[in-house]
């Protein structure tokens, strides 16, 4: 028997709320399958299971908030025989069938809807059912906001709090140093234009994918920037999972990781980025994408700033930033030439690396971008 526990979906996550199960009890699952949706400070995340087997039982109900590490479900591993469960444990966890006003009131009064008996059409829980249930429950006093106000502002607030906690921790704990240099993007953009001309519109590559790939490839030779600093020491990670900062429409940002970024060809990387952006905005990120990042790249796109000096996302140790791509000149062969420039920057953890190596990392990114043939090679 294996326990599926509340995953830690971010450095500062302490607890999560089960939104719902996506699989039925008795269903077979494989490693990597999504079995639950968990509400966290970063929105609703799809949680993957790490054991192949059969779902034996669920231990908490949708709506329950439990600390990280709490067992949520029991999974019988392949090849083991079912245990005889006592009938009391075989509670069926169904979808709660309640009207909007009943949900609203239940939340306001702190009532667990799964424990309320519905007397409406088809057993639906209606307002009166919640009111009846409330008579037997002590109402918490702290709730003063109205339900509508709160549900609107709550997710944005929670995300802001999560960002605040991570950034505060970063600046308290990590001795940052910053480096920046200007890269001539003229040749790479020229290459990109020719490449895109031959691609269907949906498969065109944006400059952002090129920057991300350059950073990922360069990191292969700079292990001290790719890994996690935890419990007083740094652990290098072999896989390069670049977290990619995505700002959300409702405010806030997430940086889900593209697993094995350096192993993706340009087209695959572009598709992965587009997929992440749309899933981040629709709230369907996977747990591994939020926990497996080993380094972050932020690219402020077309907002007009030349340089971004980022704050490292703990427990990572480096953040590579790209400012907006702008018109500029470069000096070559004693003359000047109009071109496109981008400022690359590095925020790194001085406990793990030094400026010399950081500077070499930025130079390596620059070399890759200035020699596009190498960047476009589909090396695995």
């Amino acid at each position: 028997m294996a326990e599926f526990r509340m995953p830690k979906l971010g450095a500062d996550m302490t607890a999560g709320t089960l939104v719902g199960w996506t699989r039925e009890i008795g269903e077979r699952v494989n490693r990597g399958d999504i079995i639950a949706e968990i509400d966290t400070d970063k929105g609703v995340i799809e949680a993957e299971v790490f054991t192949a087997g059969t779902i034996e039982s669920y231990l908490i109900r949708p709506g329950d908030e439990v600390p990280v590490g709490t067992p949520l479900a029991i999974i019988r591993e392949n090849g083991t025989s079912p245990e005889i469960a006592s009938s009391a444990e075989k509670t069926e966890i169904g979808k709660v069938h309640a009207s909007p006003v009943a949900r609203n009131l239940a939340e306001k009064l702190g009532i667990d809807l799964s424990a309320v008996k519905g007397t409406g059409p088809n057993g639906r829980i209606q307002r009166d059912d919640v009111k009846r249930a409330a008579k037997t429950v002590v109402v918490p006093e702290a709730e003063t906001e109205t339900g509508a106000d709160r549900s609107l502002s709550r997710s944005a607030e929670k995300m802001r709090r999560a960002i605040a906690a991570a950034m505060e921790r970063s600046k308290k704990e990590i001795p940052h140093y910053y480096l920046a240099s200007t890269i001539d993007l003229g040749p790479a953009l020229g290459w990109l234009e020719r490449e895109n001309a031959a691609r269907p519109i949906r498969e065109r590559i944006l400059p952002g994918a090129m920057l991300l790939r350059a950073a990922a490839l360069a990191l292969r030779d700079f292990p001290e920037f790719n890994g996690l600093y935890e419990n007083g020491s740094f652990t290098h990670r072999d896989e390069i999972n670049v977290g990619f900062a995505i700002s959300l429409r409702g405010g806030g940002l997430v940086s889900p990781a593209i697993l094995g970024t350096d192993k993706l060809g340009m087209g695959e990387l572009m598709a992965a980025m587009m997929g992440l952006v749309s899933r981040a905005r629709s709230g369907a990120l996977r747990s591994s994408e939020l926990t497996e990042g080993t380094v972050t790249v932020t690219s402020l796109g077309e907002t007009g700033v030349e340089t971004v000096l980022g704050v490292i996302y703990p427990p990572q140790v480096a953040l590579i930033g790209f400012g907006s791509i702008r018109e500029g000149v470069t000096v070559a062969d004693g003359g000047i030439r109009a071109t496109k420039l981008v400022n690359a920057s590095l925020s790194a953890d001085h406990r793990v690396s030094d400026g010399q190596r950081g500077s070499a990392l930025l130079a390596a990114i620059g070399r890759l971008l200035e020699s596009p043939e190498e960047l476009w090679q589909e090396k695995k």
Binding site: V101, A102, N104, P121, R124, R127
Partner: protein
């Protein structure tokens, strides 16, 4: 509120027009059979004798022409009341109403307004078949630049016309043909009559029946029957179909948590659909059950009595929609 007088809806419409004609020289009545015949629904009986041919004008069967004439007269400083026999016939004048009356203030950069009042009968229930029985109020309620009223009580029939004539812009008044013989008491509104908001005709705690015009008596009957079964229904009379009184609708739904919209128009793209969307946008978290609509069946209104009855909203259908929510 002053003294109340018992009368019929038809008498109330007649009294309203008579008062307007007596009070203001610029007011005149124009339409098919409004003069010699006294009006298709006898709303102007005796007017030709009292006010003469100049002010009570029979027109040919030419809705586009006489509604257009009304627009011209309004632009020229008059206060015309144009009667269109049924909303089905008004489609011939749709161009004048939508393209001219509704747009003139805008097209002239605010220099001209069209103080026109168009009264028309609407609705089924009299075995007049598919070309005289429809409820197309929503067609007009869709159009910016015009206002739409639907008097459902004798008091509103008596006083909405005066308020419409006082308005500087085109106002369309829908009189449900089944209401003309309805009896009721005209309440004296004093000086504070305002047609531009909805009214709660019956207070209730469990359910809002949202309706207007000819469906109001059905909703009130349904509410009485529901009360005998322990369901306390509120009945909201929209009165103004454009602009809608959003606040009143949302207040009622926030109180009762359930809404049935009763609208004699066809369900698809109906006023009921608009009100339902309004409730989703403004009171979703208050709902204990999804909004229900009781509308006409999606067929041309049939001639045969039993089929016509089956096609139009009925007290029984309102009750069954309401009971489903509990």
């Amino acid at each position: 509120m002053g003294a109340s007088v018992k009368t019929t809806y038809r008498e109330a419409v007649r009294a309203a027009m008579r008062e307007s004609l007596e009070r203001d020289e610029r007011v005149f009545l124009m339409g098919e059979d409004v003069g010699k015949y006294g009006g298709a629904y006898a709303c102007s009986l005796g007017f030709l004798e009292q006010f003469g041919e100049e002010r009570i004008r029979d027109t040919p069967l030419s809705e586009s022409a006489f509604v257009g004439t009304g627009i011209g007269a309004a632009l020229g400083g008059m206060r015309p009341i144009v009667e269109v026999m049924t909303v089905n016939f008004s489609l011939l004048a749709l161009d004048q109403i939508v393209n001219t009356a509704a747009t003139f203030r805008h097209m002239s950069g605010g220099q001209f307004s069209v103080p026109l009042v168009v009264r028309m009968a609407t609705g089924g229930g009299r075995q007049l078949a598919a070309q005289h029985s429809h409820s197309l109020e929503n067609w007009y309620a869709h159009v910016p630049g015009i206002k739409v009223l639907a008097p459902a009580t004798v008091t509103d029939a008596r006083y909405m016309l005066g308020a419409a004539l006082d308005d500087p812009d085109p106002v369309i008044i829908f009189e449900h043909a089944m209401l003309y013989p309805e009896e009721g008491a005209i309440e004296d509104p004093g000086s504070g009559f305002d047609p531009w908001h909805s009214e709660i005709r019956r207070n209730g705690a469990d359910l809002s029946l949202i309706t207007y015009g000819g469906s109001l008596p059905k909703a009130l009957s349904a509410a009485e029957e529901l009360a005998s079964e322990g369901i306390d229904a509120e009945v909201l009379d929209l009165r103004t179909l454009r602009p809608l009184d959003n606040a009143c609708i949302l207040r009622s739904v926030a109180k009762t948590h359930r809404a049935v919209i009763v609208d004699e128009g066809w369900r698809t793209c109906s006023l009921a659909a608009e009100i339902s969307a309004l409730i989703m946008e403004g009171a979703f978290d208050e709902l204990d059950y999804h909004v229900r609509r009781v509308c006409s069946e999606e067929v041309p209104v049939p001639y045969a009595m039993h089929m016509e009855e089956a096609a139009l909203p009925s007290v029984a259908r309102i009750i069954s929609a309401a009971k489903e929510m509990f």
